[in-house]
Subunit: 794 residues, 2 copies
């Protein structure tokens, strides 16, 4: 396991001394004590669990400098230097490694090399060496992935500073000097300008704040997570829409319009500021937030309209949703009124907030960051948007087809609205809002137009990318390259716009599916976020903008490997074109094969008979298992002799005819070859647990590791309605037997194809986990002379 | 889901009033206020999260009494009574049920009936009715399985009592009135009378104490968990012994002797009592303990000899292990010395402890409770021993064979000793103890005699059942009826002895494998333990001994169903005998078939080729899949017309001959029939989470639920070395082709066989997950005329 570290800031000796003295780690009289005394003191100061001098001293006997001698007996000899191996024997134990099992006392640097840990290139011969070695050690990632200083924090080192009313920093990062046993957890009600439940009153929005009690004494920044799931999740997945239905003629679409909901202007804030009178009962559940809470960043959660404790209706993806989620920031920034309870009698202010607000969150919670950022709301300084939707059409639709997010067949905007309409759970709200909710469900179902899958004004209003020019805050996007729930197109298309804005912008692409990455062991993501938020919300001069490259991409071939790139799109490589032929080859020269080849799609028939999961189907299907070969066309390259990287969005041209006056085409690009691949989801290291603060939350670390042999892996895919051949936004009639030219891009990727694998292009129709699954057979014919795939190769 | 509740104590009205007033739930002036005011107040007092009168009042609008009216508007009418349905509409919401999704405002009692919740049989017509209804409601299990009063605790209701220095009780159970944000977590070092590392000094044993700070002011009981895993687990499973080996001639056993380790008497305690100077870094991870910590029971953890922070060596199962684990109680009880650190300079006492000690823990941690209880150590008042080993021979051996615990093929005493020898992780200890550890590993391997599997003095010294007469404390055992790790024989044989002792004794048998049960939703186990420990350690008169029957057994056919029985053994039923015949039938009349039938065992050959898990193998094997039929003999009854229950230990007689001068016989009793069975492990209800205190730990609730259809389920099995035909403790030579009479009991059970299933008796040899897997084929022949199975039927 390599412990990559991008968050360590090079620091000169004087600054090292100053920082170490500030945290009481280095005694201010260090120039007067002997080398041996200083060595003992620095190790003792690393033993935060020993609470007095005698207890610390006693523990030195639990360390060894060699396979013959304990640290206690070494120090008893009053040494004037320490050999490098002896020092790192002690260091590895401090970092949580186990002698005998993890490292050999005869060769500690073997382990350090294996894990990519920094160490001195010489013996520690004087006190300056010792200070430098300890400064680096405190900033070295321990076995659990956290720096040693954070591990000391988890053992209570910083309780000595709980009385201070300020942030403290070490190597540019905020330290956990805030008492988590006294966190204030309060609930307030922000008044919206919306009246989505149409009762003539402005909707109230419940807001939950977790903040260190010290924020009563000095203002701190806020990390706001706009979380529609915060109040609870209504589990309606059993009632998802039936996808075992025939396609409909897409020309029937009425191209529905977006309709705005009524507004009722909120009152203006007065000078009243009464303390909150309600305590939070819902919990935070996002470890990155809690890690930062312990470091002096308040955590603010709100579900906004329709969620538990709030008025109104969920309207998935609509401008009203953006507005209501944004209004929380207006309150945090002092620009909007909030009340202590739902009777609107007493005003309460975010007087604990320094006016600098960042946002965090994954999936829907990442999505709302994009939505809010495009409003340019005052106070929002930065977002860290993970696995986010940038256009709701790209979440539930694609190129004129209904395309489900992975593992969500039959879900749609209306189902998600119900999932989050948690104010239904309180009977008082239920009695009031249920009829309105039922009407909104009908409206969302109708306007989202599952019948035809066509783009419309209804979806246009849910495309945040149209408003990126409004973005004023700095930007971090995080996305899994194997995220088939929120597909990578969402982050890719957004990134192309964000990267052109005059704002700092960063992108992390990991190998996971629909995941966050702050618990990955191979990268110090939490440290980077600490740097970032300190820079953006506390104005710390810590090089955060330049500390790592704009685009960090996790490798798909080797574990623990990250690529640093300037951007992410086709321009990183050279265009390559492949042509299919009737023998099933995919050739670099071609286009001369005039053959026409066909397959008969059988909808969901064979899949449902097989009683396998959607993911098993996909694996069997792309691997070329016999059972599925008659429902696809496969075109395969020769084995690659050298590894290549496919970057950006491959583009497919197909000339197609169908046997019915409607049709859906799917195209997958697959790496085929029997080899060991990385685990599809990161493996949990259950013995590697990070303390987020002291006596606070914890996080179990994970990483992608080499797994068992598999036959194939999906690189990317795409889907298109044949009726949209002429216009992605407008369907046309098609005639059975006539040929139409389709041209569309697949989802973006960054995929390294190893030598001795093949690339396989698969053309098919029903994608069991994503498309509708027709009940009728349909024959698709491809004219090979007009078909090709182009991609950008590094 | 039925929420069985055994822990509710019937309470008369005056006591209800008194208890409600004591916790400030019922205002002392309740006789003066109106019905309507009292109703409002009691609901408001249930809203612990609303911190002042206005906030509470505001929340009444979030409740509904009907599908037309909120509670706020109902109360505004100043009612003098409340209809039953209206009351329980509010009650269900308080209990955490969701209107619309979980219950219908038109018929709340439908839900209550379904979940077995208690409710009044009439409208609430006066204040006495209201008080009684609320008393019962506070003691009713909410949707998350916890009583409403515990749910209020989780929302901070009892913070108002944090300043009091006493336990408080409600319905006979201790309340969480202890501030968990200020728990003292300290480490001390108890001096043993042992010197297992043979350094001439008494071994020091690290002890970790978690206790409410209030215990500085008044003494409280201790719950001690003897936990060899507490300091960490050395993962050596990859190096388990090879089980793909031939059987050896068991007459080669040397029947090794137990050898004692040296002793060095600890110093006697003086009057010195210095506060602990080391804080705990290890964590507690057992929710039952934490639930009780919040209720005023200190949690004490110690791994004892050989574990991290302690001196000495692990000697799995040996009297030294018992002694070292017991010595912690001697310190808790004031009878043994402890120091603040490993330099033995300052003494420290458990002056916070009231001298009453209970024990908790599962598996090895349950085992040590049995071990310690047999010593009759002063101060130990009760044990709650879960999934515990009562004889180590019954854990790693059976009837002359090496038999692995489930999922632990190749593990043995020596491997487990290494697993727990976590003091190796600290280099200072490693340097000192490694050579002794290596020697002990060799000794354990040799003496445990994996070659022959024979019983010996070495194992005799590890059979706690020989010492049950020493037990002075009261007793609770908990075991899974499907625990194939610590097999049910361990608890069964112990129970037969414990049940005869003049002590209170209880037994819980659940449907799980190697599990605890305090997170099961179908039973209020935590409440029962609260009652029990209050009775035993705080002398509360709460009917704990009589509150539920001695033996509680979870049903295997229907979820959420518990049987109450007076005891657990064959005496509960009538003996039934079945005889196998050559047609493969199992008949009630028989013994007349003189046929001899054979099968050829192929060891692990076919299994390893199949590349399936041990559990898949077992399922296929007992289900009668074709692939495995030639390595077994199957005898099947007719379909049962009426359900029956098999209770206790079935006994098997087999007349066997073998083709080699050695052999292992396995016998399984299986219920065969295609039907839906309960999940083998309980399903997690991830939205049903219990707060263990306030701002403290949580527990996700689970339960066995109806699962998919399966073909068969193992009821019980047993294994025997053919060479032990004459004496279970001494092997004899056997000759190929000669017949020997085997007679042995299978593991105990309590199994309901439903109508339309068959009973199947399977005779085989290699049990892939448990026995050695020979490399050579062996033919086994059974003389049916001398073969039978007897069991006790209810």
């Amino acid at each position: 396991m390599k412990y990559n570290q991008y968050g360590y800031i090079k620091t000169d000796f004087d600054k090292q001394v100053k920082e170490l003295e500030e945290i009481n780690f280095l005694p201010t009289d260090w120039q007067e004590v002997t080398f041996s005394e200083l060595l003992a003191t620095l190790v003792e100061n690393s033993l935060a669990e020993a609470k007095n001098y005698e207890a610390k001293k006693a523990k030195l006997a639990e360390f060894a400098v060699s396979d013959k001698q304990t640290l206690a007996s070494f120090i008893a000899q009053n040494p004037e230097k320490i050999r490098r191996d002896a020092f790192y024997n002690v260091a590895l134990q401090l970092l949580g490694y186990h002698v005998g099992y993890d490292y050999d006392l005869k060769a500690p640097t073997d382990r350090m090399n294996r894990n990519g840990l920094p160490y001195a290139d010489h013996d520690i011969v004087d006190k300056s060496d010792l200070i430098t070695a300890f400064y680096r050690l405190l900033n070295t990632r321990a076995k659990n992935g956290q720096t040693l200083i954070d591990n000391l924090a988890g053992r209570g080192y910083f309780t000595q500073f709980y009385g201070n009313n300020k942030h403290m920093f070490f190597n540019g990062k905020s330290l956990p000097v805030f008492d988590m046993s006294k966190v204030i957890r309060e609930v307030v009600y922000v008044e919206s300008d919306l009246d989505t439940d149409e009762d003539g009153q402005a909707d109230l929005l419940q807001v939950t704040v977790f903040r260190p009690y010290q924020s009563n004494n000095f203002p701190i920044p806020a990390l706001y997570t706009a979380d529609p799931y915060f109040g609870g999740i209504i589990d309606n997945a059993q009632r998802n829409h039936n996808v075992d239905v025939n396609l409909e003629d897409a020309t029937n679409s009425t191209y529905p319009k977006y309709e705005a909901m009524p507004k009722v202007k909120a009152a203006k804030p007065s000078s009243e500021d009464i303390a909150a009178s309600e305590e939070a009962v819902h919990k935070a559940a996002y470890s990155l937030n809690e890690y930062l809470l312990a470091r002096g960043f308040a955590n603010v959660y709100a579900g906004a309209i329709g969620t538990r404790g709030s008025d109104g209706l969920r309207i998935t993806g609509a401008p009203e949703e953006t507005e209501s989620a944004k209004e929380i920031i207006e309150w945090l920034h002092g620009d909007r009124i909030a009340y202590t309870d739902r009777t609107r009698q007493h005003e309460t202010k975010a007087s604990w907030c320094n006016g600098n607000i960042g946002m965090t969150g994954r999936s829907y919670l990442g999505t709302l960051q994009i939505a809010i950022a495009t409003t340019g709301v005052a106070g929002l300084k930065t977002v860290v948007s993970e696995a986010a939707i940038s256009s709701w059409y790209d979440y539930y639709r694609e190129h004129g087809l209904v395309i489900a997010p992975e593992a969500c067949q039959g879900e749609d905007l209306d189902m998600l609205a119900e999932t989050c309409q948690s104010n239904l759970w309180d009977a008082g709200d239920y009695v009031k809002v249920k009829a309105k909710f039922d009407a909104m469900q009908k409206r969302l179902l109708k306007k989202s137009d599952r019948e035809t899958g066509q783009y419309s004004d209804f979806w246009e209003a849910r495309n945040y990318r149209h408003h990126t020019n409004g973005i004023k805050c700095s930007w971090i996007s995080v996305h899994g390259l194997n995220d088939w729930n929120v597909k990578p197109k969402n982050v890719y298309k957004l990134w192309q716009k964000v990267a052109k804005l005059p704002i700092a912008h960063k992108l992390f692409l990991h190998q996971g599916p629909h995941y966050n990455m702050n618990n990955l062991l191979s990268i110090d993501f939490s440290d980077l976020m600490n740097l970032w938020f300190c820079h953006e919300l506390l104005n710390v001069d810590n090089n955060a903008y330049k500390q790592w490259d704009d685009v960090m991409i996790q490798d798909n071939l080797y574990p623990d490997t990250w690529h640093q790139e300037p951007t992410w799109n086709n321009s990183l490589g050279q265009e390559v074109t492949y042509y299919p032929d009737k023998e099933g080859s995919l050739l670099k020269s071609g286009g001369a094969d005039n053959s026409k080849v066909s397959f008969i799609d059988q909808g969901g028939k064979v899949f449902k008979e097989a009683k396998i999961s959607e993911s098993s189907w996909q694996y069997q299907f792309i691997s070329g298992e016999e059972k599925w070969l008659n429902q696809q066309l496969r075109f395969e390259t020769d084995e690659f002799i050298h590894p290549i990287t496919i970057v950006g969005r491959p583009k497919v041209k197909l000339r197609v005819s169908t046997s019915l006056p409607k049709g859906q085409i799917s195209v997958a690009l697959v790496e085929v070859g029997k080899r060991k691949r990385l685990t599809p989801i990161p493996k949990s290291f259950n013995d590697q647990i990070q303390e987020l603060g002291y006596r606070f939350g914890t996080e179990v670390m994970k990483e992608f590791v080499n797994d068992i042999e598999t036959n194939a892996k999906l690189i990317t895919k795409g889907h298109m309605n044949v009726q949209n051949y002429a216009d992605m936004k407008h369907a046309k009639e098609i005639k059975p037997g006539e040929f139409y030219n389709l041209e569309f891009e697949l989802q973006p990727t960054f995929y390294r194809v190893p030598a001795s694998s093949h690339l396989t292009l698969i053309v098919y129709s029903t994608d069991q986990g994503m498309t509708k699954r027709p009940l009728e057979d349909e024959t698709y014919t491809i004219d090979l002379s007009q078909s090709e795939i182009k991609y950008s190769q590094m």
